[in-house]
């Protein structure tokens, strides 16, 4: 376990990066600091073809650190919203997002909780989630793995389509629906269980499958009888993270910035 001399955030970023490993040349969008650093790490380690933005209007030649800029980025392209829509409708994008609720079908919600006319909690609104979900691959980062985030029934308002046959038109999944991985603070999962159901692929150090199941509102399967540990970031990746995140934004995302190995 000595390899795991890193923070849980570092472990999560390293796991998020894997989402983009085999994507080739496309727009990688990580929403929130850890997915964004995951995309950045993927680009500077194993997939240099990825296109990343500065979080606003331009594609940058190299990943732009979250927070204070220490140098003006070198820009390589234009990513205004009109272009982003055009690009994503062409399918060459892979996003990683953090919905408030996710269900067993991979359906995701960032809109509202409770009654639609007067919700208990009104959130952002569906944003670009409906279109993203059926035009290009999507992955997820869920920072608090619990039965509140991984809900027992369907999510309260389906913003992202999932593998739910009851919502298919003419019996086939929406064209372009392609859900990839889920990274949480407990484990890594994918959608390669029976009928595209969610299964656990690896466990973070000190976490048991029973603990993951207990904190999930639906039944999970296992990718293998003996689940491996989520890989620790290599020394090289840890050094890259220092460069990618000089402001240590990753240290302020998870409460108390816990170590990868839990007590």
């Amino acid at each position: 376990m000595t390899d795991y001399n890193c923070s849980l955030a570092d472990l999560i970023i390293n796991a998020c990066a894997e989402a983009w490993r085999d994507d080739g040349e496309l727009m990688a969008t990580g929403i929130g600091p850890l997915p964004r650093l995951g995309a950045s790490l993927a680009k500077v380690s194993f997939n240099p073809l990825l296109q990343l933005t500065d979080g606003e209007n331009y594609y940058a030649d190299a990943p732009v650190p979250p927070g204070k800029r220490h140098a003006e980025p070198v820009y390589e392209g234009y990513a205004n919203y009109d272009r982003v829509f055009s690009a994503l409708w062409g399918g060459r994008r892979h996003s990683m997002v953090s919905p408030v609720q996710l269900d067993r079908f991979g359906q995701a919600n960032i809109s509202s909780i409770g009654d639609r006319a007067a919700p208990k909690v009104a959130m952002l609104g569906a944003r670009g989630f409906p279109g993203n979900s059926i035009y290009h691959p999507n992955s997820f980062f869920i920072p608090n793995h619990s039965t509140r985030s991984f809900v027992a029934d369907e999510v309260d308002f389906v913003c992202m389509a999932g593998y739910n046959p009851e919502r298919y038109l003419k019996g086939t999944p929406p064209k372009g629906l392609d859900l990839r991985i889920i990274v949480s603070d407990l484990c890594v999962m994918d959608f390669n269980g029976p009928d595209k159901s969610i299964r656990v692929v690896s466990l973070h150090p000190g976490v048991s499958f029973a603990q993951v199941q207990e904190n999930t509102g639906f039944e999970l399967s296992k990718a293998s009888d003996t689940l491996p540990l989520t890989p620790a970031p290599s020394k090289a990746h840890m050094a890259l993270l220092e460069t990618l995140d000089p402001n240590n934004v990753r240290g302020s995302v998870l409460k108390d910035n816990p170590p990868a190995i839990r007590n």
Binding site: V121, A122, L124, A126, C159
Partner: protein, 299 residues
């Protein structure tokens, strides 16, 4: 503001003259995106008016929040309401959670597509967006089968026709030739094409020759025939940004957010910022030099 002897007509009006053209129950589109280039001076003018029961169409930011807080909105057509650094707008949340407003919630691209259909004078445009989600379970959507061999089923995204659009830009001449010079024009062009009337507030009204169209052609938003009136409101997007002229005022956004804490807090915010003329508003939020000195936020 400059005029030329050759100008034989002028579309210049005051903000209150523009807002007096709007009517109760109208469908009004607001340009910009979240905390960027919102026509806030015109929005504040709506707050001072008796207008009510508006249907608002917006990529929402504090424009939506303010109009929610003032009870002006009957129905909201939107994909999100966000203050970016403060992800959730408390004024919008309060209106939504109390059931005060009706909503028709769209995907960002569907909103684009609805404006596009209106701009093209089509009843709808087909899209896959919405399939598999609760978006299309709201009233107001129908499906349509492709008439070609593929036979695929699409969502028929209805046109979003606007009675009026309000936008904010950087420069205009008196005839309504507009330059939108920020890095992202967002969908202001489509808002103006989807609208029967478009009203633009601009940072500065200049002579036509000063638009320097050969240099700035890519910033020219739309043909002036689509612009009904323009008004000069320096810092008229504040507290949102009108980059490169000035950036988001996060400090003011904080006051705006805190204004949702209680009815008393809202009254205090309203008294400080929402009852005065635009010139007095600019002074109240610190003046031109202070706004001009705000650093560009990083994302």
């Amino acid at each position: 503001m400059s005029t030329e002897p050759s100008d034989d007509f002028s579309k210049v009006e005051t903000p209150s003259e523009i807002i007096s053209r709007l009517e109760d129950g109208m469908t009004i589109g607001i340009g910009g995106w979240a905390t960027r280039r919102k026509p806030m001076a015109l929005v504040r003018e709506i707050l001072k008016s008796d207008l009510k029961d508006l249907t608002l169409v917006s990529y929402g930011g504090p424009d939506v929040g303010l109009l929610c807080a003032a009870g002006k909105i009957k129905r909201l057509i939107f994909a999100f309401v966000s203050l970016d650094q403060y992800p959730l707008d408390p004024h919008f949340r309060a209106a939504r959670q109390s059931g005060q407003i009706e909503v028709w919630e769209l995907d960002e691209g569907m909103l684009h597509w609805g404006l596009r259909a209106a701009a093209m004078d089509l009843p709808f445009l087909p899209t896959r967006i919405g399939i598999g989600t609760d978006i299309i379970n709201q009233p107001g959507f129908k499906l349509i089968d492709s008439p070609y061999e593929d036979g695929e089923t699409f969502v028929a995204m209805p046109a979003i026709n606007l009675d009026a659009a309000l936008i904010h830009a950087h420069r205009s001449d008196v005839k309504g030739n507009i330059l939108t010079m920020s890095p992202d024009p967002f969908f202001d062009e489509l808002f103006s094409r989807a609208a029967f009337h478009t009203y633009a507030s601009v940072e500065k009204i200049v002579m036509t020759s000063e638009l320097d169209i050969p240099t700035n052609a890519r910033f020219a938003l739309v043909e002036r025939a689509r612009i009904t009136a323009v008004t000069e409101t320096p810092f008229g997007a504040h507290p949102t940004s009108a980059a490169p002229d000035y950036h988001l005022d996060l400090k003011h956004i904080k006051s705006y957010v805190e204004g949702a804490a209680s009815p008393e807090a809202w009254d205090a915010y309203k008294t400080a910022y929402l009852l005065s003329t635009h010139a007095d508003y600019v002074d109240a939020v610190g003046g031109a030099d202070t706004i001009g000195a705000i650093a560009k936020p990083v994302y």
